[in-house]
């Protein structure tokens, strides 16, 4: 009975976590993706699941490199199916000043097996947050006896290497790529959503962060596709240019 309750409780927190990280998903049009989209990342997920399991009870820094928000949330969902490790999710806010303090606050009364940190890329004063992290890195390994997965984008990574090079030197990395057709789908949905945001003038302020993150994501996706030598079809190209 109590096990069941606990399980339910877990599900509850998980659901909350998912809801929060899923801000990029336009709910009515949630695309149902066949598993083939995930298969390229299955290996990376297994790697992540194994590392978390092997590091429960001690500090370990893992960078998960992935540029696309929606892909991230799908990956996390799948990861939870693969492992019993209780992974807590921490969504950083734009205004957060320190990584250490924010994590400390999150886990203080509430121990967990592992922690995942999202939205580092959206933090307002990133450089300062990163240098502060570097300064207090000793505290991470002394006080946090659980693995920490930090999700990073290609924008954030060089800044992390520059401003927190010692902290970063503790990290192992798992990379998540996105398949070309999935990338195009993402680009379509992102541009759609940006249109929607721009049209609903009232919602604009509320959706600011979403719009901002998504615009960046569109730019990354575009560069990514160009890098792969993929030509966009005209309609999509026009939409991207408008955004």
């Amino acid at each position: 009975m109590s096990e069941e309750m606990k399980e339910q409780g877990d599900m509850e927190t998980r659901r909350q976590g998912e809801k929060e990280i899923d801000i990029s998903t336009p709910s009515p049009h949630l695309p149902i993706l066949p598993y083939s989209h995930l298969s390229s990342n299955e290996e990376g997920l297994e790697e992540l699941a194994w590392s978390l399991e092997a590091s429960v009870g001690e500090f370990k820094l893992i960078l998960a490199r992935c540029n696309y928000l929606r892909l991230r949330s799908r990956l996390v969902k799948r990861l939870r199916q693969m492992t019993d490790v209780d992974v807590r999710i921490l969504n950083l806010k734009r205004t957060d000043k320190t990584l250490y303090g924010t994590i400390d606050e999150e886990v203080k009364d509430n121990p967990n097996d592992a922690l995942m940190v999202f939205y580092l890329e959206s933090v307002h004063n990133l450089k300062q947050v990163l240098s502060a992290t570097n300064q207090v890195r000793e505290e991470f390994r002394k006080r946090f006896n659980f693995p920490v997965v930090l999700w990073v984008t290609d924008d954030v990574l060089p800044q992390l290497v520059r401003s927190a090079s010692d902290f970063e030197s503790w990290a192992t990395t798992t990379e998540f790529a996105i398949a070309t057709d999935e990338l195009i789908t993402t680009l379509k949905e992102d541009t759609d959503a940006l249109f929607a945001t721009a049209l609903a003038a009232d919602a604009y302020c509320l959706g600011w962060q979403m719009g901002y993150l998504r615009r960046r994501e569109v730019i990354t996706a575009l560069q990514d596709l160009q890098g792969r030598g993929h030509e966009l079809e005209h309609a999509l190209k026009a939409r991207v240019e408008f955004v």
Partner: protein, 452 residues
């Protein structure tokens, strides 16, 4: 007995430092002094135990972050203890906000750690220090109470509720707790103590260090050594009046760093070695800073330095086979790696940087999750790491890197500091103790480094 993969993975976690007094960690420890060009730790030790056991000494210790400084300092501590010294080792980052350090914070931190360590030794009540602390406490509390209470009611600093006796460590701890995370209060404290720093230094010497050394000698110790680790974390941001913090602390305030009446070893940021003010620094300290160089894997002419490789291989294998002797480990190497060449490639490409090596190895295990580890994966990880490094390199920096590659030298200016700090360039020592530089081997194969 087969290898416990999970344990091997944990033993290679790059965020871990070896604590030499821990029996388990001792099995992982490899003494690299023979390939670091000069036995730095031995020199530090002899400097105290042989040349000047009675007179206080002061030496700065530096090296690339992650090259094993803390591990070596903990070894120094152990060796000094074996020789009969009382050693206080602490990490300055625990007491101080390393982005904003002033000399008064520093002196207080030393006093706190020494008196904490000597807890049960009954020294006379330090009246001067008590007075200074109470003054500081008043200043800090006045700030908190603000306008509301005209006469702030404050308890005595340094007196815990359970005993009436004044405790220096407890008192300083109360002050540190207030100021560490609060820039305004830190400013207040330093405004108050700054002008009195000579008095503070004298009080620490006459009321704490000198009587402590006296008592320690009565107990059979030869002397007192204070090792301050992590002081190299002081970053280079400018103080409010424009002076970079590193220069401010280690050069402008050197008088206070060098006058403590016991043996002291401080870690210093490596970047200071490349500062234009470095000459000033060496004049102000009795000895030139000791640099812990990287483990050499190559010679300046590019040929393999076998003694370095031998020890690095052992370092890797010890993490897989902590209980075997070096010969047995080599015999079982193929259980861990698909080929002896894969292990050599790992050691070579690390450039002798211990943490970078562990990081690659740890990622390698993470990626494969079964043994033996394959060369193919290692090469993929090397490419990934190279890509990660090149993302942050500007055109100007590529030019500097080409110069380093050719000349094996680094000039002292800001750009080079950045290259050293981001571990794009490493410093080595040859057998004669002469230093030379090379670019991180991971970068060596980057196309940008080809001559045009």
């Amino acid at each position: 007995m087969s290898i416990d993969l999970r344990k091997f993975f944990q033993a290679t976690n790059p965020s871990k430092t070896l604590a030499i007094e821990n029996a388990e960690d001792q099995k992982y420890y490899i003494d690299f002094s023979s390939v670091r060009g000069g036995k730095i730790i031995e020199e530090l030790r002899d400097n105290i135990t042989f040349f000047s056991p009675e007179e206080p000494t002061c030496v700065l210790f530096t090296g690339h972050i992650g090259c094993g400084k803390s591990t070596e300092l903990l070894r120094l501590k152990m060796e000094l203890e074996e020789e009969g010294f009382y050693v206080v080792y602490f990490e300055s980052s625990e007491d101080m906000e390393m982005a904003d350090v002033d000399i008064a914070d520093f002196l207080l931190s030393v006093a706190r750690r020494v008196s904490q360590s000597l807890n049960d030794m009954s020294l006379d009540e330090p009246s001067l220090l008590k007075e200074l602390l109470q003054g500081a406490w008043r200043v800090l509390n006045a700030e908190v109470v603000g306008m509301k209470a005209k006469i702030p009611v404050i308890g005595d600093v340094g007196v815990s509720s359970d005993k009436d006796k004044f405790s220096l460590a407890f008192g300083i701890g109360q002050i540190t707790a207030k100021t560490k995370d609060d820039a305004t209060l830190r400013g207040r404290l330093n405004q108050y103590l700054g002008p009195q720093k000579t008095k503070l230094l004298e009080a620490i010497n006459s009321e704490l260090l000198e009587p402590a050394v006296e008592k320690l000698k009565q107990q059979g110790y030869i002397g007192l050594v204070v090792i301050v680790d992590n002081l190299d974390r002081v970053d280079s941001r400018a103080k409010s009046w424009g002076r970079p913090q590193q220069e401010y602390l280690f050069i402008d305030q050197s008088e206070y760093l060098t006058k403590l009446q016991c043996h002291v070893v401080y870690t210093m940021p490596l970047a200071l070695k490349f500062s234009n003010d470095y000459g000033n620094l060496t004049q102000r300290f009795p000895e030139d800073p000791k640099v812990l160089p990287m483990v050499s894997v190559e010679l300046p002419d590019g040929s393999i330095f076998e003694p370095g490789m031998v020890l690095l291989r052992q370092m890797v294998l010890a993490r897989a086979f902590p209980d075997l002797n070096p010969q047995q480990r080599l015999h079982r190497m193929t259980e861990v790696f698909d080929d002896a060449k894969s292990l050599d490639r790992l050691c070579q490409v690390s450039g002798g940087h211990v943490r970078d090596l562990l990081r690659l190895l740890n990622n390698w295990i993470q990626r494969e999750r079964k043994l033996p580890l394959s060369r193919e994966t290692l090469e993929a990880l090397i490419r990934y790491r190279r890509n990660e490094m090149t993302m942050q390199i500007s055109d100007d920096e590529w030019e500097l890197l080409r110069q380093v590659k050719k000349r094996k030298k680094v000039r002292g200016d800001l750009e080079y500091q950045a290259l050293i700090h981001s571990r794009l360039v490493f410093e080595y020592r040859d057998a004669g103790g002469e230093s030379w530089f090379d670019i991180n081997p991971i970068l060596a194969e980057a196309s940008e480094l080809e001559e045009g």
